[in-house]
Symmetry: C2
Subunit: 221 residues, 2 copies
C-alpha cells in the first residue's frame, strides 16, 4: 500500500431523499475527517437493476462504500474503518486492551445491535399495508428492544462506550442514527444523548455535508 | 496482556440438543486449535432467566463466548477471532492487503450474510404455526437468497474466499453451517462443498468434540 493521500471511496450519485445522509460511505467519510485524511470520491450509479460487473468485482454484494488505496481494494464498512483506524490512535487506541475493546464494540454494533433493527426495517419494507406486517413486527420487535436495553445499560452515564471516543462509538452511533426504528432508540435517554454527542462532532458534520453535496452535484442533469 | 498460555473462554454448560455443536464458542475453539494454542474453558449456566450480573459485566448482551487473557476481557466472537488472529499468520496473513481482505470477509460474514439468515430464524422461532409466518418468511427470504447467491458467485470455483484459508473462511463457514436455513445454503453446490471443506479440518473436528464434551460433563448431575 502506498501513501495515505491516495484514498478513494465510492459513493452513490443518487439515493432517495429518505436515505440521504445515511448511506454507509458516511461512516468512512466521518472517520477520515476525524483524523484529517483527505480522500477522493468516485460516484457510481444506484438507480435500479443490477450493479455493473466491475462494481461486483470490487464489492461482492454490490454496495458502497468501496475503499481503494494503492493496491488495496476493500469492502465492508467495518473492515474499512478498522483499516483507517490502524493509521491513527485517535480512532483506534494503541494500548492492546483498549484496542481490542474498541474492536469488540465495532463488531457489537454490526452483529449484536444492527441485525435486530434491520429485521424490523425489512418487515416494514416488504410488509407495509399487509396483514402479516403487524404481527411480524410485534413478534420481532422485542429482540431489538432487548439489545437496545442492553446497550443502554452498558453505556450507562458515560460519554462513550469506553473511556474515550473511538471507532466503536463512531460505528455504533452511525447505526443508531441511521436505522429506521428511531422510536426504539429514543426510548433510551442516554442513547439519544449519545447519538446527539456523536453527531455534534465537527468531523461528522463535514462528512454529512460532503455526502449531501455529492447528491446535489447530480441534481441539475 | 500476558503470555498466551493464559487464555480462558466461557461456554454454556447446557443448551438444547439442536444447538449443540453450534454455540459461538465453537469458532473460537476452532481458531485456537488451528494454531495449537491451549485454553481453559469456564462453563456458565444458560437455562432460563436473566444472566448473572458478572456475566453481563463481561458480556453486555449476556452471551458466550467471553474471552479472557491477562487483563483483557473480550466479547463478540468476531473481535475475539481477530485478536487471536493477530497472534499467528496462519489465521490472519501479515501482508497488509491480504490482512485487510481477510478482515473484510469477517465483517461480510457477520454483517452482510448472517443478519438475513437470522431474520428468517427469528420468524421461524416466533411465527411457527401462526398465520403471519408463511408470508413473512416468503417476503424476507429473497434477501437471504440474494446474499447467498452473491457469496456463491464471489467464491466461484476457488477453495477459499481468498487464495488460502483464513479467519474469513473460518467465520463464514461457521455461519453457513450453523444457521437454521440450511436449504438456502445447500442450494449452492460450491457453498455446500466449501462448508464441507472447512468442517473437515482437524482443528474444526477437535473443537466440535470439545464443545460436545462440555455438555456431556454436566449430563449426570
Amino acid at each position: 500500500m502506498t501513501d495515505t493521500n491516495d484514498i478513494e471511496i465510492t459513493a452513490y450519485d443518487w439515493v432517495p431523499d429518505m436515505a440521504r445522509g445515511k448511506v454507509k460511505d458516511m461512516r468512512v467519510r466521518w472517520a477520515l475527517n476525524e483524523i484529517g485524511l483527505p480522500y477522493r470520491q468516485r460516484l457510481v450509479g444506484n438507480a435500479g437493476g443490477e450493479k455493473a460487473p466491475d462494481h461486483i468485482a470490487d464489492q461482492p454484494f454490490g454496495q458502497v462504500p468501496i475503499y481503494k488505496e494503492g493496491d488495496l481494494t476493500l469492502f465492508e464498512s467495518g473492515a474499512i474503518l478498522l483499516h483507517i483506524g490502524e493509521k491513527d490512535e485517535r480512532l483506534l487506541p494503541r494500548d492492546p486492551v483498549a484496542r481490542a475493546r474498541t474492536i469488540a464494540w465495532m463488531f457489537a454494533a454490526l452483529n449484536s445491535v444492527e441485525p435486530f433493527l434491520q429485521a424490523l426495517f425489512l418487515i416494514d419494507l416488504r410488509g407495509s399495508g399487509q396483514a402479516w406486517h403487524g404481527p411480524a413486527k410485534e413478534n420481532l420487535r422485542p429482540f431489538a428492544e432487548n439489545r437496545l436495553r442492553q446497550l443502554s445499560a452498558a453505556l450507562g452515564e458515560r460519554e462513550w462506550l469506553e473511556d474515550r471516543f473511538t471507532l466503536g462509538d463512531l460505528l455504533m452511533i452511525d447505526i443508531l442514527r441511521t436505522n429506521s426504528q428511531q422510536d426504539l432508540v429514543r426510548a433510551h435517554d442516554n442513547l439519544a444523548a449519545y447519538v446527539e454527542r456523536g453527531t455534534s462532532r465537527p468531523a461528522f458534520k463535514s462528512a454529512l455535508a460532503a455526502q449531501m453535496a455529492a447528491f446535489e452535484e447530480r441534481e441539475p442533469t
